[in-house]
Symmetry: C2
Subunit: 219 residues, 2 copies
Amino acid sequence: MPNKMKLSDADLLSLFHADPDFQTNFTPRHYARKTLVYSPFEEKNLVFVVRSGRLRIYLAYEDKEFTLALLEKGDVFSTHTPAFVQALEGTEILVCSTATFGQALARRPELSLTMVKVLGELLQNSIQTIEGLAFKDVRLRLVDFLLGAAADRGRVTAEGTVVQLGLGTEDIALLIGTTRQTISQIINDFIKSDLLQKIDRKTLLIKDLEAFQEMKEIS
Amino acid sequence: MPNKMKLSDADLLSLFHADPDFQTNFTPRHYARKTLVYSPFEEKNLVFVVRSGRLRIYLAYEDKEFTLALLEKGDVFSTHTPAFVQALEGTEILVCSTATFGQALARRPELSLTMVKVLGELLQNSIQTIEGLAFKDVRLRLVDFLLGAAADRGRVTAEGTVVQLGLGTEDIALLIGTTRQTISQIINDFIKSDLLQKIDRKTLLIKDLEAFQEMKEIS
DNA sequence: CTCCAATTGTCGGCTTGCCGACAGACCGCA
DNA sequence: TGCGGTCTGTCGGCAAGCCGACAATTGGAG
C-alpha cells in the first residue's frame, strides 16, 4: 500500500557504499528550514537522495498549494516533474544533474532499473492521488491518509495506535486538497465519536483502527 | 504543452524498422470495440504500442470512472499503473511483457532511455491532471481541454478552429472529472456567448480561440 | 511567569456541482 | 418513414465544502 509519507523504497543509499566511485557524481547540499530547493522554472533537472531532514514536494497555482509528497531520509526524487521542492526543516541532500546521472546510467545499466523503479513509484503515487481527488470526498481522503500514516509510522499501544504525524492541521489540509477548517471540523467529529484522540499538537491516537478500515471499505 | 489526447511521442515504432529482430519480442493482438484490454487485477505487467484504433486508460471506483488518457496509433503505454485499459474501437496493439522487455533493455541500453521517457511523460500527464483537479473548477478544466485538443488536432479555417474530438458529452465528462450534465451546461453557455459552435455531434468549431486563452491566463 | 505569535476551533453564508427526472433530438435500420 | 435506442439539454433540489471572520488555545521565548 503506497503512501504519501514515503516516496521510494529504492535504497540508493546502499549503492553509495557499494560503489564509492559512483558517489563522486553527487554533491552534498544543505538547506535551511522553509527554503526553496527547486522550482519548476529552473532549467536544470536533478536527481537527489535525502540524507537528513524533511522535504515537501508541492504544486502551486495562483495562491493555492497542494502537497504531492513528503520526503525523508533515504527517499529518492527526480525533478522530472514540474513541482516545487521545499525544505521543511534543516535538510541535507545529495544532488546529481540528470545529465551526469544519464552518463552514470550508461556505465552501470542496472541503475536504469532503479530509475524506472523510482519513476514507477512516483507514478503510482500520482495515480493514487488522482483517485482520491476524483472519487472521494474529503472525509474519506482523510481516512485514507490516517490509515496510511498509521501503517507507516504508527506505534501500537494498549489504547490504540499512536501516530506521530509531525504535521499541523494546515499541513494535512494541503496534503489532502482541502482547507484547514474542513480538516479541523472532521477530526473533531472523529474525536467526538471517540475514534480519535489528541496527544499533542502534532500527534494523534487512533483508538479504533478497524472503524476506519470499515469506512474505507464500505463506501 | 502536454495533452491528454496524446500520451507519448517516443517513436518506438521506428525502432521496429531499425531492428526487426527486436520486433520478435512483441506479439500483435486484436481487440474489438468496447472490450477490456487490461485490468489492474491481472498480475502481468505489459508494455505495448498502439498500431491502430483507440484505447482508453481509466480508473474506476464503485460506480464511477475517470479517464486518464486516450491512446492512438503510435502511442506507447506501460501498465506500471493500476488502471484499466479498454478498446474504444477495433484496435491492434503490439504487446510485450515487462519481463522480456527488461531483457531487451539489458541488451540495448539506449532503450532504457525510451522507457524513462515514457514513464516521465506518463508522470507529467498525471501531475497535470492533479493540478486540474486540485486547483481548477470544471469550467476551467474544460477550457484547458479544448485548448489542448485544438492545439493537437485542430484545423484552422476562416470561421475558426475546427476540432474533431471523436468524443461525446459523456466522454468529455469522464476525461474532466465531472458529469455529463455539467459539461452540457457549460458548452451551451459557450455557444450562447458565441465562442463555440457545434458542427456535428462529435466535432466543435472554436470561434474565438483567444477568448479561451485569456480565460486560462486571467484566473 | 507572562506575553505574543502562531495554531486551532467554530460559525453562517454562499457557490459549485451532483443527482434524478424528464423532454426533446438524432441516428441507423428495416 | 416510422421505430427504438442512444445521446443531449434543462430543470430544481440538495449537499459538500470554501471562505471570511472571530474566538479560544497553546507553546515558546524572554
